[in-house]
């Protein structure tokens, strides 16, 4: 059986690929990986910002460690410019 799926979330896609690779020995074979969007255009983001932004996965924000990580990521990227 061949199964073709469309995964919008790149992070989730990577996880699923990793998971599928675990079952390589059981005969699961990834035939084709097609990255639909390597580069996002500014126009596309401007037009689809809500759709893109709504499909994130955050931890519950009461998790202080997560807050710390998020802040770290935000500020390190900010100062790397």
């Amino acid at each position: 059986m061949q199964l073709i799926v469309n995964i919008k979330d790149e992070n989730l896609a990577r996880k699923i690929i990793k998971l599928l690779n675990i079952f390589q020995d059981e005969g699961i074979e990834i035939i084709k990986k097609e990255e639909s969007r390597k580069e996002w255009s500014d126009e596309y983001v401007q037009e689809h910002w809500r759709e893109i932004g709504m499909n994130t996965h955050s931890a519950d924000i009461d998790d202080d460690e997560y807050l710390y990580e998020a802040a770290w990521e935000y500020y390190s990227e900010k100062h790397s410019d």
Partner: protein, 524 residues
């Protein structure tokens, strides 16, 4: 019992977790109460987000975007995050962290949020269990919030100044901060700005801001040189200040009965009250409606009298298409907080088109001084505080909207109460407009209806229960019961309903439903 049955009593400060629930599909499914509460608050003008939550939202949303879409660049991620922030800031206002913040070092973020909530008299809407347990009197969960908001019995506020304040909160904060920063608390630049704005609004030549509506009347009469033994004709159906200021100057208030429809001075009865001692007529635009100004001006002209309009309740009203200032020598008004245009304490203004009177009133306002420490007249210390002018400048900028909303409320009251034979509705003459300082109906068994309405959570007021000629302080004038029968009759029947620009259709319908219910039961 945090809300005492009414969510409208408190503001709501939305915690970060609710914002994130709303703006992420996975969390929307998991926390539907957050979504429903957020959607409810979008359309009810009393929700805030803390300034500290905005940057937390920014970096959390940014980080989740980085994880979900590693190939988005920084600019693109910021575009997305900032669009979300811009969107929720169209629904909610920002609450600052106040300077009297008591930091709890166990959780600085929570203590900031609680301090912000205290500053705006809000409950924090949160799912954070730790916070809900630690601050039970300052927090509310989405589930509890929704339960409370669906309760049917609204708690109605008569003038709802709090709601009005929070409607203009960011502008008022900015405007008052400017005053704190320049610290010119007496006659600061906001006073002149207000006077210019008042002139622009009314097309008056001069506006002089002063310390209260009462002082405005006093200054007006001092400018007209009203002296002991002069007589000033006015209505007995008004707030005490109108006649009190006449008496304070040693002059004699001469009352003339009122018109049964408008409750303003009956112009057809004024001429009989004119004597050689009469110096002026003070007409009062009761509840906001101008009196019969043409008729009054004709009498004033015939007998060479001044005409002052006491417009304490009528700022913004028009007579034959013009502001009232254009139909008298001096127009005075009040910015008492509950007035249609109110400040946050006492305040007032005098408007006139006369160069001479304006100049004199400006001097009288500051102890009669024409230059520093040189006093031409005996005057008063009757300046408006700069901070009040700063607030009024903001509110005046929105006054046309408020004026329209008050008229809309009055229209709905009239539509819903029309044809009830036991209720007499207010009559506004076709050639004038009113800001509806009060929406006052006449009703038999008023006191009983008032008590029943109070029990149903509906505040009412009586403007005014005793005409001035029957007040003890005016006993020396020698008037007695029966002298002004219309005023006496109206004072027994009149009752003002809640009136403010924030009354909702639901609240109006509830008020009217209850009035009708009580009338059927009481008046038979």
């Amino acid at each position: 019992m945090k809300l005492l049955g009414s969510i409208t009593v408190k503001n709501i400060l939305i915690d970060l977790n609710i914002l994130l629930d709303y703006y992420e599909n996975a969390r929307r499914k998991k926390y539907p109460d957050s979504i429903e509460a957020f959607d409810y608050l979008k359309y009810h003008n009393f929700a805030f987000v803390s300034s500290s939550s905005i940057d937390n939202f920014e970096f959390i949303k940014y980080a989740t975007l980085s994880k979900a879409y590693p190939s988005l660049n920084r600019k693109q991620k910021l575009t997305i995050v900032h669009n979300f922030i811009k969107e929720f800031l169209t629904f909610f206002k920002i609450a600052k962290t106040p300077s009297y913040l008591e930091i709890d070092y166990d959780d600085i973020e929570d203590s900031q949020l609680i301090a912000s909530a205290k500053a705006i008299d809000a409950l924090v809407l949160t799912r954070d269990e730790k916070m809900l347990n630690k601050y039970p009197d300052m927090t509310i969960s989405p589930k509890e919030f929704l339960k409370t908001s669906k309760k049917k019995k609204p708690k109605i506020d008569f003038a709802n100044l709090k709601k009005q304040h929070f409607r203009y909160y960011p502008e008022i904060e900015k405007s008052t901060d400017t005053v704190y920063n320049h610290s010119r608390f007496i006659m600061g630049p906001e006073i002149q700005e207000l006077e210019e704005n008042l002139c622009s609004f009314t097309k008056a030549k001069y506006a002089i801001a002063c310390s209260s509506g009462t002082d405005a009347l006093l200054l007006a009469m001092m400018a007209l040189d009203i002296k002991p033994d002069d007589e000033v004709i006015t209505t007995p159906f008004t707030f005490i200040a109108t006649a009190e200021t006449i008496a304070l100057l040693g002059a004699k208030p001469v009352f003339v009965d009122i018109d049964e429809k408008t409750y303003n001075i009956d112009a057809s009865k004024i001429e009989k009250a004119v004597t050689p001692k009469t110096k002026a007529i003070i007409s009062v635009s009761l509840y906001g409606q101008p009196s019969d100004l043409d008729e009054i001006n004709a009498i004033a002209k015939k007998y060479n009298l001044f005409h002052i309009i006491d417009g304490a309740q009528s700022f913004g009203a028009t007579y034959k298409g013009q502001a009232e200032v254009h139909h008298c020598d001096i127009y005075t008004t009040s910015f008492f907080p509950a007035k249609p245009l109110g400040c946050y304490g006492d305040g007032g203004a005098i408007l006139t088109n006369s160069d001479e009177l304006a100049q004199k009133i400006r001097m009288l306002r500051v102890h009669g001084q024409n230059k520093r420490y040189s006093h031409k007249y005996i005057g008063l210390g009757a300046r408006l505080d700069t901070i009040q002018a700063a607030i009024l400048n903001v509110k005046l900028n929105h006054y046309k909207e408020d004026f329209a909303k008050r008229n809309e409320v009055a229209k709905r009251y009239s539509e819903l109460l029309r044809n009830k034979k036991d209720i007499i509705l207010p009559t506004i003459k076709l050639d004038r407009t009113t800001p509806w300082a009060q929406y006052s109906i006449r009703i038999k068994n008023r006191d009983e209806v008032q008590t029943k309405l109070k029990d149903a959570g509906i505040p009412t007021a009586v403007h005014y229960p005793k005409p001035l000629h029957l007040q003890e302080c005016f006993a020396y004038l020698g008037n007695k019961e029966g002298d002004f029968p219309v005023a006496e009759k109206i004072s027994q029947e009149i009752m003002s309903l809640p009136m403010n620009p924030d009354l909702s259709e639901e609240e109006i319908e509830y008020i009217i439903f209850k009035i009708k219910e009580f009338i059927i039961n009481i008046i038979k």
